[in-house]
């Protein structure tokens, strides 16, 4: 009896761990942005989100931030500084489009492309980068 249960459980675990592969190649090319609320909570389940028409977003001091859900957006709108303080950039990071030093800026826009985080001085630079990422990555 116990052996039968054991077999069922082993097959079950095998199936679910088999499903848990890396991101498929078809998804690799899609640009993603960082949800500052999920980044604050280190919630890696939805920290990198794809941007589409319906993606919840908020504007704060001229910069647009995107969120995985309307709940994260609501949290951000209540206290944006709480979440932006955590989004500190690594020292020496540069905007790949305008080459501005990110650590000199008070605010910046993080974005993820091909599993790497890029930091931009503005939405304009981020959009420019995402329109032709290969060009800017080669220049780096």
């Amino acid at each position: 009896m116990v052996n039968r249960y054991f077999l069922v459980v082993v097959v079950f675990l095998f199936v679910i761990t088999g499903c848990a592969g890396p991101v498929t190649s078809s998804k690799k090319g899609k640009p993603r942005v960082v949800d500052p609320v999920c980044a604050y909570f280190s919630d890696m389940g939805c920290v990198n989100i794809e941007v589409c028409e319906n993606t919840p977003k908020s504007m704060y001091e001229g910069v647009t931030y995107y969120f995985c859900s309307s709940e994260c957006k609501a949290d951000f709108d209540k206290n944006p500084l709480k979440y932006l303080k955590m989004a500190s950039s690594p020292k020496g990071a540069r905007d790949p489009v305008c080459h501005m030093g990110i650590d000199e800026l008070v605010k910046f826009v993080p974005s993820v492309y091909l599993n790497k985080v890029y930091y931009f001085c503005s939405d304009y630079c981020r959009a420019k980068f995402l329109s032709n990422p290969d060009y800017y990555m080669e220049k780096e």
Binding site: V2, V9, T17, Y40, F41, D43, G45, I49
Partner: protein, 323 residues
Amino acid sequence: MRTRYLRSKYLFSLLILFLLVFIKCSEANHGAGTSGTAITIPAITLKSGVFSLGLRTEFTEFEGISDSKLLEKAVKGGSFDAVDRTLLSTMDVGYGVTDDLTVGLTTGWFESANFRESELEDDEVNIFHANPDGLTDLWLSCKYRFMRGPQGHYAVLAGVKFPTGVDDKKNNAGEKLEAVEQPGSGSYDFTTAFAYSRWFTRDWTMDTSIQYIYRTEGSGDFKVGDRIDWSLATTYQVIPKNRYPNVAPVGEINTRYLFRDKQDGKDEHNSGGTIVFLSPGVRAGITPHLGFGASILFPVFQNLLGEQQETDFKVVAGVSYSF
């Protein structure tokens, strides 16, 4: 004793009232969602200012023991208790004091079917029946997450149990049941735990925890044995957890080590042991505020000391609501 029971009911009513007063839709908590496991404690805490309300049911089916087998085991071991199945329904409320500190209260209701105890006295064996149903003790606990990041979340947990439950149940001969058979043990107990959670990928998470429960002497000079639980759980989010409804299968392993009970400072021969459960399950996010989880626990290894009744399986199911 009647007064104590009424006091327990009064405390339970106060808790319900407290929950009703504070139920309001204020803030979502889809947050870092690695919870929903049967036993493993995730290192994730509630967001600051968020309440969570959980209802959980644990059904346990024990090996079948007939009256003749019960008498046989009592002759062999001196005494033997048997029950067909038990149902433990618990309710917990949690509050995020800060983003990394959560406090919680848990209490419940215990029910059993066909509880019997047999004892060998003066070369005579008798079977007694009892109905040990009632309110369980109240746990107050706090969880502090001391580190979080892409490499994982780390948390410690501490808790104390207050003897608010029913601990005066008697058998049909009018004898008081031992503390381990009562819904409430009548003792102040303490627990400490360490928990770790991390994401392997965006959808694949792992939680592990180790918990120690230290028990003090309860009613009838009886001390229920201490307990250590080590658990490991993995979850794969089939539908991303920021989309609703979403679903995730859960696989879990739990090792439970039970120390021997003590009566008047002496070890109880028929107590203590080790049980290993494997538990497949499922967790679902219905809305950002409402979640559901269910698991079946199969004991794949049982090494119970002396003469004890083995577990056939357990079913754990629960819903949680955050606001």
